[in-house]
């Protein structure tokens, strides 16, 4: 060996030749091995990452769903708290109900409630929300009822202008609008005046907000003036309402039709 190392003359050539010949193979082999190794390693990592990604996505979806439910519960809680506070404030016995459907037709304005005759709901009862008047019970079945909204053409409520105590009838005008009818021309009414229930109809308690006057049209002739109001309740976004179960109402209906009334369903007034 030492001799060969010392006398390298003839060997160098062969060594170099062999090296040059083998090296490309070695290089290719290394490349293939590295590539395979890399791909394999990357694949494993990717599979792992993919699994992790799927798991994280699932987790995120679960958390989002949970978050959504919590938010929804918080909103419902807020609404129900306001409803409860309002229920305690008013001096009538009320039935809390949930809106389960809107009017399927476009001409009429009504909503369906999840409470009916078995819960103490009767035809003609007033329906309100913490923001104001919603409507009146139009139809009842044992466990459901239909409310005619104040914006329906067939709806009419006795009301008065809060500031001047001017009397009028609030009639539905469709599409989230009402009109004040039989409002005397001599009455002082301006845009922005609030309209409240007069309590004369017998169904609604006195002083419940109906809406705000948005337009007054006082013509130069005639006995009455025309006013348009927007309901204080957003009737397109109703979720929970209160049905006022006045004691006088069932008596009036009992003449024509006797109905059983569940004492459990009608919550007593809290003082």
């Amino acid at each position: 060996m030492s001799l060969r190392v010392k006398q390298r003359k003839g060997v160098d050539f062969f060594d170099a030749l062999l090296m040059e010949l083998i090296s490309p193979f070695q290089k290719a082999s290394t490349f293939v091995v590295k590539t395979v190794h890399g791909v394999f390693q990357n694949y494993i990592i990717l599979v792992h990452l993919q699994k992790e990604n799927v798991m994280l996505k699932q987790k995120m979806a679960e958390l989002q769903q949970e978050n959504f439910q919590l938010k929804e519960m918080a909103y419902a809680n807020e609404r129900l708290r306001r409803l409860l506070a309002f229920r305690e404030k008013i001096s009538s016995s009320v039935i809390a109900a949930e809106v389960i459907g809107q009017d399927p037709s476009s001409w009429f304005k009504s909503v369906t409630l999840n409470k009916g005759e078995r819960n103490g709901v009767r035809k003609g009862m007033a329906v309100i929300s913490p923001e104001g008047v919603v409507g009146q019970i139009l139809k009842t079945s044992p466990y459901h009822s239909t409310v005619l909204l104040i914006t329906d053409y067939n709806s009419a409520i006795d009301a008065l202008v809060q500031r001047t105590r001017a009397k009028a009838i609030v009639e539905g005008k469709g599409e989230n609008r009402c009109q004040l009818k039989y409002l005397l021309r001599s009455d002082d009414v301006i845009v922005g005046d609030m309209v409240v229930t007069s309590g004369l109809g017998g169904n609604f308690p006195k002083g419940v907000t109906v809406g705000e006057i948005r337009r007054v049209d006082k013509k130069e002739y005639g006995i009455f003036q025309y006013a348009e109001l927007v309901p204080s309740v957003d009737l397109t976004k109703l979720e929970e309402v209160l049905v006022i179960a006045e004691s006088s109402l069932p008596k009036r209906e009992d003449k024509g039709k006797k109905m059983k009334r569940s004492p459990r369903a009608v919550a007593p007034k809290k003082k």
């Binding site: 459907g101 399927p104 037709s105 139009l138 067939n154």
Partner: protein
């Protein structure tokens, strides 16, 4: 019988959708009348007796869940079904445009009919309802007509799949 029962369930499902889903659409004022589309589809594809009874019943259900106490939809939906039956096989309803026009014109006709009936039956004058016809019912009828080809196609597919029977009058 099976088909009639399926149609009944479908009708109730469509009514439930109309009372819950369509009011939550972005434009609440203008919402498509999917029950009307179904009644017209029945008019073109079912027998006069079963389809007539179903249309009457669906109209009655609409009256029941709406603030209407005159039974207007019971009348109008039955009438529209009968009219659709009259046109069955006489109209070319294979193109999307013809399906759109068919439903659009029927929706307009129903709007006009209800307007006339409401004005005639109400003891007190209902104010200026006619202005609503152009500002509200025209766009709504247009929207109802617009989605009708899609619903017709879906109803046809479902009918074909379940009963291996082609919806008469309307082809894909």
């Amino acid at each position: 019988m099976k088909r009639a029962l399926f149609s009944l369930v479908l009708g109730i499902f469509f009514l439930a959708l109309q009372a819950t889903l369509t009011p939550s659409l972005p434009i609440q004022r203008i919402r498509p009348d999917i029950v009307l589309i179904l009644v017209l589809y029945w008019g073109l594809s079912t027998s006069p007796v079963s389809g007539g009874i179903l249309s009457f019943f669906l109209g009655f259900l609409m009256d029941l869940f709406s603030g209407n106490s005159f039974g207007l939809y019971t009348f109008s939906r039955s009438l529209l079904f009968c009219l659709a039956q009259l046109f069955k096989g006489r109209l070319y309803l294979e193109s999307l445009l013809s399906q759109f026009l068919f439903v659009f014109l029927f929706a307009l006709f129903e709007g006009l009919l209800i307007l006339i009936l409401l004005s005639a039956l109400n003891p007190a004058p209902l104010g200026n309802l006619s202005s609503l016809f152009f500002t509200f019912f025209l766009p709504q009828s247009f929207l109802t007509g617009l989605i009708s080809p899609l619903l017709f196609l879906l109803l046809n597919k479902v009918t074909l799949f379940l009963f291996e029977q082609h919806g008469m009058g309307i082809r894909e």
